[in-house]
């Protein structure tokens, strides 16, 4: 079952297929503490993306020979459910999932105070239940929240967002169809309090100037997502506080 390629992805008024402007994020809904067994968890819906993250740890590292004497071992596993994409995906980890697991771990690690828990492991499991482009960014956003929800001390939160070029326009938060039909896609993860980029990948074709503009655009998108992350972490406590303290 393959979809027909749409005529145009962006119209002459710079309006995209999903009616967004060039600089707009897809609608985002986030929740934390959604899974009973995990030490921390979070769920995100970003456009048609549906992604769940769970954290187990810090706990004793198993197998023991992987334990690091002076810090925790942080592992993030990015995995897509077979039904998450149009053509059923085999449950076995693909090369793409292996690469993404690596870059996601490297995007999150700078944020976690791993030195506090030597010889332990902190495992983050990310499951993509429905995919529509930009899943690695949504995965980082939600993994970072799951770690905070688990009460694991962090230097700060990590927010992630992609920007790119489609039909000559530079735009934010590409959907799958925009990524496939466009000229460039650049996923980026950002730690706001350190002003630092922890993930940056790019594929496509951009001049050096366009590269600069797209990087800056992605960072601005991350800043918006960071505000949502903070709200979500506080939300549970704010409502209880308001209810009882009147």
């Amino acid at each position: 079952m393959s979809q027909k390629k749409p005529e145009k992805l962006v119209d002459e008024n710079d309006v995209r297929l999903d009616s967004r402007g060039l600089n707009k994020l897809r609608p985002i809904k986030i929740e934390v503490g959604v899974l009973g067994n995990a030490d921390g968890s979070a769920y995100i819906e970003q456009g048609k993306n549906k992604i769940l993250a769970a954290v187990y740890g810090p706990k004793e590292a198993h197998p023991k020979h992987l334990a690091i004497p002076d810090r925790a071992l942080l592992r993030c596993r990015y995995h897509m459910a077979p039904f998450s994409v149009e053509e059923r995906k085999s449950p076995a980890p693909s090369r793409r999932e292996v690469e993404l697991s690596k870059v996601i771990t490297e995007a999150i690690e700078p944020a976690v105070l791993v030195e506090y828990y030597p010889r332990t492991s902190i495992d983050t499991f990310i499951e993509v239940l429905q995919a529509d482009g930009g899943t690695r960014c949504a995965a980082i956003t939600v993994a970072s929240l799951a770690l905070a929800d688990a009460g694991i001390p962090m230097r700060g939160l990590v927010a992630a967002c992609a920007a790119g070029k489609v039909e000559g326009r530079l735009l934010l938060d590409l959907t799958d169809v925009e990524d496939k039909g466009g000229e460039a896609d650049l996923p980026l993860a950002w730690m706001p309090n350190l002003n630092a980029i922890t993930l940056l990948q790019m594929d496509g074709s951009l001049t050096i100037d366009e590269f600069e503009q797209v990087v800056n655009m992605a960072v601005e998108g991350c800043k918006q997502i960071y505000e949502l992350q903070k709200e979500v972490l506080k939300a549970k406590y704010v409502t209880v506080k308001e209810e009882v303290e009147e």
Binding site: D39, G57, P58, K59, E60, A111, L113, Y117, P118, R119, T120, A148, D149, A150, G151, P153, M154, R155, G156, L157, M191, P192, N193, L194, Q229, K230, L233, K234, Y237, V238, V240, K241, V244, E245
Partner: protein, 237 residues
């Protein structure tokens, strides 16, 4: 020398709490001259110290703490105890028996078996070894009866209350013995299951509303009205 939040505001990891000549207290870290939060919680400023009372955190062992744990492994001469911390704790048979362990004579599982609950004290702990437990003091040892409540360890101080005000009230009102483990595990044992249930309910309410003010009064009120049962004493609000 600025601080950026009001006392008891909710902050999230990475929030800049203060800048300048301040000390980094609980759940914060200092980089250059800036102090950031490491966990979600309520920020506090105490003279030059900046700290965060975390709303959710796991237990990190500390020497001298009273903890309640579950036996997960029976070894030769020692048990491994899960105390809900990143590191499992060790309890030596010699410390429980108060004499050297004799493998031919002593049967480990009949003293403590997998699944048994034990109340103990942490007597040693550092970066390189597992926390070591001891049951020497009275009231410590295998738990025979009662109900267990697990709450996030950061809320244990709230269950105890200022100068023990909350825990004293709970014990009185519910007629139960309540042993509070610093690792977030609480043992409630009363004369009837109904009394125990009431204490459990109260503890859950404390956990839910730990970050609010006026809690002791509200919990007292709730406990009393639940005890009242059918003949509900309605109070003018």
């Amino acid at each position: 020398m600025p601080t950026f939040y009001e006392k008891r505001e909710i902050v999230t990891p990475g929030d800049l709490l203060a800048e300048g000549d301040y000390m980094a207290g609980d759940n914060t870290y200092k980089e250059d001259d800036k102090i950031y939060a490491t966990r979600v919680g309520l920020v506090g400023y105490d003279d030059r110290k900046v700290f965060v009372v975390a709303l959710k955190a796991f237990y990190v062992p500390s020497v001298g703490d009273l903890v309640i744990g579950k036996v997960v492994e029976v070894g030769l001469g020692s048990w491994i105890i899960d105390i809900r911390a990143p590191y499992p704790a060790v309890l030596r048979a010699s410390d429980v028996l108060n004499r050297p362990f004799k493998p031919q004579r002593d049967d480990m599982p009949s003293i403590l078996d997998v699944g048994d609950l034990v109340m103990a004290k942490i007597v040693a702990y550092d970066r390189t070894r597992a926390p070591l437990l001891n049951t020497r003091e009275p009231d410590l040892g295998k738990i025979e009866r009662g109900q267990i409540v697990e709450i996030t360890p950061t809320k244990i101080p709230r269950v105890i209350g200022r100068k023990g005000s909350m825990i004293t009230m709970l014990k009185q009102e519910t007629n139960c013995q309540i042993a509070v483990g610093q690792n977030g595990v609480i043992l409630v044992s009363g004369k009837s299951p109904k009394d125990e249930q009431l204490a459990v309910m109260a503890i859950r309410k404390i956990e839910e509303e730990a970050h609010t003010s006026g809690l002791t009064d509200r919990v007292t009120q709730m406990v009393r009205s639940e005890k009242g049962g059918v003949e509900h004493v309605s109070e003018e609000t």
